[in-house]
Amino acid sequence: MSEVHLELTDVGIEFPTPKGPFRALEKVDLKIKQGEFISLIGHSGCGKSTVLNIVAGLYEATEGGVLLDGREVNEPGPERAVVFQNHSLLPWLTAYENVELAVDQVFKRSKTASEKKEWIEHNLKLVHMDHAMHKRPDEISGGMKQRVGIARALAMQPKIMLMDEPFGALDALTRAHLQDSLMEIQKELNNTVIMITHDVDEAVLLSDRIVMMTNGPAASIGEILSVDLPQPRDRLALADDPTYNHYRSEVLRFLYEKQRKVNH
């Protein structure tokens, strides 16, 4: 692992509301290395998405800032590709065309038409969607839509991939399939990933480090847990693994003892 890739320094944000400013985040400090898989976990409303949106450049931090490879992040861009929770595919385009929109934009001049086509198909193959690439979002299942969303993000060849509860809206079986796919892709590409989740198993299974956030308002990072399990990970083998269960209970303890949500 190399030096720091993405750096959040003292990030805080305030949103203006009719009742005065609302402080969502305070003093978020995080350093991420190239190829690391980071999960952000916390109760809903704790500002996980806000952190991700600041890294994406969709929100601007009120104080502090984000550096990616030493350069300040102040607007959205394809080098920080986002996989949105509800896939956000354009409903009038096929899977192929959705990825094409991204590829055309990112590799406008650097790839020829045939290279682009190859690259689009390659990415759809990576998420196992090559059999349905000419179908439109309303013709495929929720899991398949999310696969296309991931393919679109991968096709941007991002420096860092930001995933906002990518599997949150899916049923357990589909989610497991997609997690396996993601691990497989991660092994091949070694991307840097920040993923928001509120699924403890998902966090432990996929992450190198789990960032646990305190409850809002003025949420911050509570604890960071390094997950020292060998790759590749197998969900069945890990189910009875004492180390795995130890990590799992660490996260659960943080969420349900230290940061118990009082007002639900």
Binding site: A56, G57, E75, G77, F84, Q105
Partner: protein
């Protein structure tokens, strides 16, 4: 598209191959039987009512008299076509004779100038309405997109739209007439002034639904899609072309369909007052003519206006279905 699956064909086909006979007979009754029953009841009421209405131009035309007038209009059109043919024949003959006598003579071809027939009037009306509607759409769609994208532009323009939307075409027409005659001054006019008057009146009346619905369609672009556009750093123009336009197309076409309906209604009134050849002028001329056939002929025009309007609306519906990506919405 399998023609056997067409809603008009399928029940007959199924009846033929003996699939769910009872259900098919039910379907056919609903699809064809009931509309015919409605039509028959309407014709009976029309006949009964008309025989009791006596106007200064004679009895109000019933279905039979109206049909007779339709036939007579058709005969007149045929006679006029024959006359036109004869006119050109005679002209060609005369010219040939003159060229024979004097080889240096270059014949001038004169156009036939008979009065337009009923069916030609329908054609003129369609040309006028489509020109007005087309121009209005070219103006309204970009305005709709701009005010849909910017809440500030919307706030600035919305009161104007709300004020101008309900204005009757009859109020616009005198203004349009005066402006056209003041501004459109040429020695060799490419367009008739009456045509321009009716077209611009149509345009002014059918701008608004397209603007409003296009703006509403643009507002359906979700924050998610805007985020995608931002992450991809799409330029303003690409954002409009690739995301905003396709997203707003279903609503835009709803607006266009309403606009075309209004355009057709407005056109008839405009043609009456502007004396632009078309169905409106036909109705007005028959009214002024005041013969015993006039009311029957106006009735033919009324039905024709309805049928053409219906066909225009169906045409827009087909277009709307073809361009709508959201197949979950049933359009009717």
């Amino acid at each position: 598209m399998n023609p056997l699956k067409w809603s008009l064909v399928e029940p007959f086909y199924k009846l033929l191959i003996g699939e769910d006979r009872k259900g098919q007979i039910n379907n056919i009754t609903k699809m064809i039987g009931l509309p015919i029953a409605g039509l028959v009841v309407f014709l009976l009421i029309w006949q009964g009512a008309s025989s009791n209405i006596h106007t200064s131009l004679g009895q109000f035309p019933g279905p039979v008299q109206t049909y007779e007038q339709f036939i007579s209009l058709q005969e007149e059109a045929e006679a006029s076509a024959l006359k036109e043919e004869k006119f050109y024949e005679r002209q060609a003959e005369r010219n040939a004779q003159r060229v024979e006598k004097d080889p240096g003579y270059v014949p001038t071809i004169r156009d036939y100038t008979g009065p337009p027939t009923f069916f030609e009037q329908i054609g003129r009306s369609l040309v006028t309405v489509m020109s007005g509607f087309f121009l209005a759409s070219i103006i309204a769609i970009p305005i709709g997109i701009v005010i849909g994208l910017s809440a500030n532009a919307y706030a600035a323009v919305n009161p104007l739209i709300q004020i101008f939307k309900p204005v009757s075409p009859l109020a616009w027409l005198p203004l349009v007439t005066m402006v056209v005659s003041a501004v459109y001054v040429t020695d060799d006019p490419a367009f008739d002034k009456a045509f321009l008057n009716s077209m611009f009146t149509v345009l002014l009346c059918c701008l608004w639904p397209t603007i409003i619905n296009t703006a509403a369609g643009v507002a359906t672009v979700t924050q998610d899609l805007k985020n995608v556009s931002q992450v991809l750093r799409l330029s303003w123009w690409t954002h409009v072309r690739k995301i905003v336009l396709p997203c707003s197309i279903p609503m835009m076409f709803t607006g266009l369909r309403i606009s075309l309906g209004i355009a057709w209604m407005v056109l008839i009134a405009a043609e009456m007052l502007a004396q632009n050849p078309g169905l409106g002028k036909f109705v007005w001329d028959e009214f002024q003519n005041g013969s015993s056939n006039s009311l029957g002929r106006i009735m033919v025009a009324v039905i024709m206006i309805g049928i053409v309007g219906f066909i225009l609306d169906r045409g827009m519906l087909i277009l709307q279905k073809a361009v709508s990506w959201d197949k979950s919405v049933t359009l009717r």
